[in-house]
Amino acid sequence: MRAEVTLLDLRLRRRSLLGYTAGMALYTLVVVALYPQFKNSVSLDQLTRHGSAVAALFGATGTLTSPAGWLSANIYANFLPLIMLLITIGYGAACIAGQDEEGTLSLTAALPLTRTSILVQKTASLVVQAIVLGVVTMICVAVGRGSGLNITPADLAGITIAITLAGIDFGLLALSIGCLTGSRGTAIGITAAVAAASYLISSLAPVIHWLRPARYASLLYWSVGGNQLTSGISVSSAVVLAAAGAALLAVAWYGFRRLDLH
């Protein structure tokens, strides 16, 4: 298995990945450190008590003062998905369509590598980036066990897997649109719109009843829209997220094999 393209792209993304991950780690540590100040706050729970749509918009539903509620409302339902998607959608759109528009892909395209190999190596780079962010965040949350944020390791691992898979899926969506159109802008635009819709559906479905059936179409619902922080990732969620990734990778493969490179 060759990895030159994976390593090159990781080198090219090193600065942005480090920056995003360091920022996410710092934010997570602050959220974790603040928990003891808020865990007995009654007023905070009133915010979501009657199913407030405004609180739901920010990804906050259910009790906010429980460890799971606190982490969900501050990290897993909003901020982490946002940073995760910035990384994965950005890379997914840039790694083929963006590099082709810049002209830098021609160096790789002229090497003795099949298009399948190039695509697989770029997907591997996407997966590594998503895992780095997910795992670093997980470690920072685990540090918080000292401040009373008691989440079982299995649940923490479950939500980390779920959010990482969702990040990879959206990255693959951007990658496949880039492969079908050759346009980085189109890939980012469409994927960001789909991600925003997914977020709204997933976060509002618990309080807006007519929206509830639509949540099954939201990848973020399968990732962070349930109670993954208290019961881990369900088999069905994992299957949906993995199957979506496989389907999107197949679309990217179909598009990349037909794409004219410059």
Binding site: V5, L12, E102, T104, S117
Partner: protein, 303 residues
């Protein structure tokens, strides 16, 4: 044995035909010059040969393989220098060379070292700090360092200073002398006639002519300049077949003559010629003549 063949090779982008019905062959050890103005379809043809573009019609073979379905095998044996070379701006030449060498499984880097020395390649600075010429040298190194069987080079000397252009032409000649095949595009006729054995001229996506440089020169127009004792009138010559008036002065007429010279001399002799200079065949003039001739054939394009 033909190393490259194009058989009715065509590529359209939407309704715009970039190249149409290209037919040519390039033999082993040959340096094939691909000439044409900007936008004529040179880069499109090269990308079709590299399997980067998918042909709309017709087919190409490179080293006996299909450039699209066997791209990896073709690329293993080919060196490619893109026309608008874009290298990752933050990486250094050394990092780019390492990347390509690893991906090619190249363990012996001695030839790469020779090239770096020969072309004075700056390898230790980020590409974004380098001049266009110094980037181009890295591109040449990336194309040649694995000692391929064939080179496909799109405007290879753009940005190079004259000394480096000479060095590059020497490299191409050595490569061909060692049995390597070169497909080289350019809009600089001078360079092509110095290094190429055969030349194709492409215009508006179609081949205008394919011939050896010597063959082209034989059919190229000669330049004949007459100076007369009295006033000169270009109209004396303009009706003669194969003759084009290139310039006039009060007592002077400069002609581009294709074909027999005798009718021109007969006309001139009738008008008291004071002096006569003739220059040998000029490929520049031929190059331009192909364009004009095609334009005349297609009045819709002449505007």
């Amino acid at each position: 044995m033909a190393v490259i063949t194009a058989d009715g090779l065509s590529k359209a982008f939407g309704s715009r035909l970039a190249v149409e019905g290209l037919r040519f062959e390039v033999g082993k050890g040959e340096v094939f010059g691909f000439l044409g103005p900007n936008g004529a379809g040179k880069s499109t043809t090269i990308r079709l040969l590299m399997g980067l573009y998918h042909p709309t019609a017709g087919r190409a073979t490179v080293l006996g393989l299909d450039p699209v379905s066997d791209a990896a095998a073709v690329h293993r044996r080919t060196g490619y220098l893109p026309g608008e070379l874009a290298l990752h701006p933050r990486l250094t030449g050394a990092q780019l060379v390492n990347y390509a060498a690893r991906a090619r499984g190249l363990t012996d880097r001695s030839f790469a070292g020779e090239l770096a020395e020969r072309f004075e390649v700056t390898l230790d600075r980020p590409v974004r700090t380098l001049s266009k010429g110094n980037r181009q040298k890295i591109g040449i190194m990336l194309a040649v360092m694995h000692q391929p069987e064939m080179l496909i080079l799109d405007e290879p000397t753009s940005g190079l200073d004259p000394l480096m252009q000479d060095e590059f032409e020497r490299l191409v000649r050595e490569f061909a002398a060692g049995g390597g095949t070169v497909f080289l595009s350019s809009h600089e006729l001078d360079q092509v006639q110095r290094v190429a054995d055969r030349v194709a001229i492409i215009r508006d996506g179609r081949l205008a002519v394919t011939d050896t440089v010597d063959g082209l020169r034989a059919s190229a127009p000669r330049t004949i300049e007459f100076r007369f004792a009295g006033p000169a009138d270009p109209a004396w010559f303009s009706a003669l077949p194969g003759v084009r008036v290139r310039g006039t002065g009060p007592r002077q007429v400069t002609l581009a003559v294709r074909g027999p010279v005798a009718p021109v001399l007969r006309v001139a002799a009738a008008h008291d010629v004071a002096d006569l200079t003739a220059r040998p065949a000029d490929l520049d003039e031929l190059f331009l003549a192909y364009y004009r001739r095609d334009a005349a054939k297609e009045p819709a394009d002449a505007r």
